[in-house]
C-alpha cells in the first residue's frame, strides 16, 4: 500500500510524463498495490527511459546541430552584448546618481535617448528570441521535449563558456592575425560589482531570451492550427529574422566572405523590419482581443441604450 507522502512524490514525478503514459501507469500502480518506494522507483525508471529514448532519436541530434545550437549561440552572444550595454548604463545612472544632474536639460535629453536606444535593443533581442523559439517549436512533437531542454542547456552553456570570445580567438589564431597588446579594462568598476558581473547578465538572459524563446516555442508548436498563409508568413519572417542575427553577432561575420558581409551589411536596414514580426503577431492578438472587448462593450452599451430608451418610452 502506498503511503500518502510517497503517493504525493509519485504523482509529482509522474507530471514529467505525458498524459498517455501518466494515466495507465498511475492506474497500474494503484491496482497492483505497489509499495511507496517501488511506485517511486517505477515512475522514475519510466521518466529516465523516456528521456534517454529521446537522446537516441537521430532527429533530435539533427535538430540540435542544424537549428538549436546556432540559435542558442547567436542569442546568447547578443544577450551578452545587451547585458554589457545595460550594465554600463545602469551603473552610470543608478550607481552614480546625482540629484544636481536633474536640473540639467541635457541630462534628460541623453537619458531619453539612452532609454529609447536600450529599449529598442531589448525589444529586438526579445523578438529574435521569439523567432528562434518559433522555429524550434515547428520541430516534430516527438523531438520537442528534448529540443526545449537542449535550447536552455545550450543557451546557458554558451553564456558560461563565452563561446563568442573563443570563436574570435580561434579565427584570429587560425588566420594568423597577430594579437594586439592587452588593453586596460575600461569597464573595471562595473565588472568589479558582483551584481553587474554575475547576476545582471543572467537576468537579461532569462527575461529577454528564455521567456520570449519559450513563448515562441509554444506558438510555433501551436501554429499548425493557423491558416496555411499565416503559418508560411510567420515561419519565413522568423527564418529571415534569425538569419539577420548572423550579421549582428561579433565574430560570426568573419565566417563569411567579404562580398557576403558587404551585401548583408548594405541590406540590413531593409531586412530589419522583419525583426518585429513577433510584435506584429502580438498586435494581431491584441487587435483580436480589443475587437472582442470592443464588440462586447458595444453590445452592452446598445443593450443599456435600448433599456434606457424603453424606460423613456414607458415614462412617456
Amino acid at each position: 500500500m502506498i503511503s500518502p507522502k510517497s503517493w504525493a512524490v509519485a504523482l509529482w514525478l509522474s507530471r514529467s510524463l505525458c498524459q498517455a503514459d501518466r494515466e495507465p501507469v498511475l492506474g497500474d500502480l494503484t491496482e497492483s498495490g505497489e509499495s511507496g518506494g517501488g511506485a517511486i522507483a517505477d515512475i522514475l525508471g519510466l521518466v529516465v527511459r523516456r528521456w534517454t529514448t529521446g537522446l537516441f532519436d537521430m532527429r533530435v541530434w539533427f535538430a540540435v546541430g542544424s537549428l538549436i545550437l546556432p540559435i542558442s549561440y547567436l542569442l546568447s552572444a547578443i544577450a551578452q552584448n545587451t547585458a554589457g550595454i545595460g550594465a554600463v548604463y545602469s551603473w552610470m545612472y543608478l550607481n552614480n546618481w546625482d540629484w544636481a544632474l536633474t536640473r540639467n536639460p541635457g541630462f534628460w535629453h541623453v537619458l531619453r535617448e539612452t532609454a529609447i536606444y536600450y529599449g529598442i535593443a531589448c525589444l529586438v533581442l526579445a523578438c529574435w528570441s521569439w523567432s528562434g523559439g518559433f522555429l524550434i517549436g515547428r520541430l516534430p512533437n516527438a523531438t520537442l521535449r528534448a529540443s526545449r531542454i537542449a535550447f536552455i542547456v545550450l543557451l546557458a552553456a554558451s553564456f558560461l563558456v563565452d563561446v563568442r570570445g573563443r570563436l574570435i580567438q580561434f579565427w584570429t589564431s587560425s588566420h594568423g592575425v597577430p594579437l594586439g597588446p592587452a588593453l586596460p579594462d575600461v569597464h573595471a568598476p562595473i565588472t568589479a560589482n558582483v551584481f553587474y558581473h554575475l547576476f545582471f547578465p543572467w537576468i537579461v538572459l532569462a527575461m529577454l531570451v528564455i521567456l520570449p524563446g519559450f513563448s515562441g516555442i509554444w506558438h510555433g508548436n501551436r501554429s499548425l492550427v493557423l491558416e496555411r498563409k499565416i503559418r508560411v508568413v510567420l515561419a519565413t519572417a522568423a527564418t529571415i529574422s534569425v538569419l539577420i542575427l548572423l550579421i549582428h553577432v561579433p565574430g560570426v561575420e568573419l565566417l563569411f566572405g567579404a562580398a557576403v558581409r558587404e551585401w548583408l551589411w548594405r541590406n540590413r536596414s531593409a531586412m530589419q523590419v522583419l525583426h518585429y514580426c513577433p510584435v506584429g503577431r502580438c498586435s494581431m492578438w491584441l487587435r483580436m482581443a480589443s475587437g472582442v472587448i470592443g464588440g462586447v462593450t458595444l453590445l452592452w452599451c446598445n443593450k443599456r441604450g435600448d433599456r434606457k430608451g424603453d424606460r423613456q418610452c414607458v415614462k412617456r
Binding site: E23, P24, V25, S32, L46, R50
Partner: protein, 107 residues
C-alpha cells in the same frame, strides 16, 4: 527478430486476450520469470512493439479499483503473432540437444 522481453510481452498479451493491459501483462511476466518487471521497461517495450506494428494499444474505460484511471489495453496483431512464433521456433531449434532440454549435465 524480436528480443526476449518483447517475446514475453507478446506471449502474455496473447494469453490474456481481452484482459491484456499494463498491470496484467506485468503480473504474468513476473509470475512466469520469477523476476520483477519494471513499469519503465514494460511501457517503453510496448511503445517499440506498437511502432513495429506487432501490437495495437488504446485507452480503456476508467475503473474504480484503479482509482478512476484508465487502462492501456493491448492487442497483438497478426504480424506480432508471426514474429512471436518465429522467435519461439528459433528458440526451440537452437535448444535441441542442449543439456537442459535433455536433462543431461555438462562439465
Amino acid at each position: 527478430m524480436i528480443g526476449e522481453f518483447e517475446y514475453l510481452i507478446l506471449s502474455s498479451a496473447t494469453r490474456l486476450g481481452v484482459d491484456a493491459y499494463g498491470a496484467s501483462i506485468r503480473s504474468e511476466i513476473e509470475k512466469a520469470t520469477g523476476r520483477k518487471c519494471s513499469i519503465g521497461a514494460l511501457y517503453t517495450t510496448l511503445d517499440r512493439l506498437e511502432v513495429k506494428g506487432f501490437v495495437t494499444t488504446w485507452m480503456g474505460e476508467p475503473t474504480r479499483e484503479r482509482g478512476g484511471r484508465s487502462k492501456r489495453l493491448v492487442q497483438v496483431t497478426a504480424t506480432g503473432v508471426k514474429e512471436a512464433s518465429d522467435f519461439f521456433r528459433a528458440i526451440s531449434r537452437i535448444s535441441k540437444g542442449a543439456s537442459w532440454t535433455t536433462n543431461r549435465t555438462t562439465r
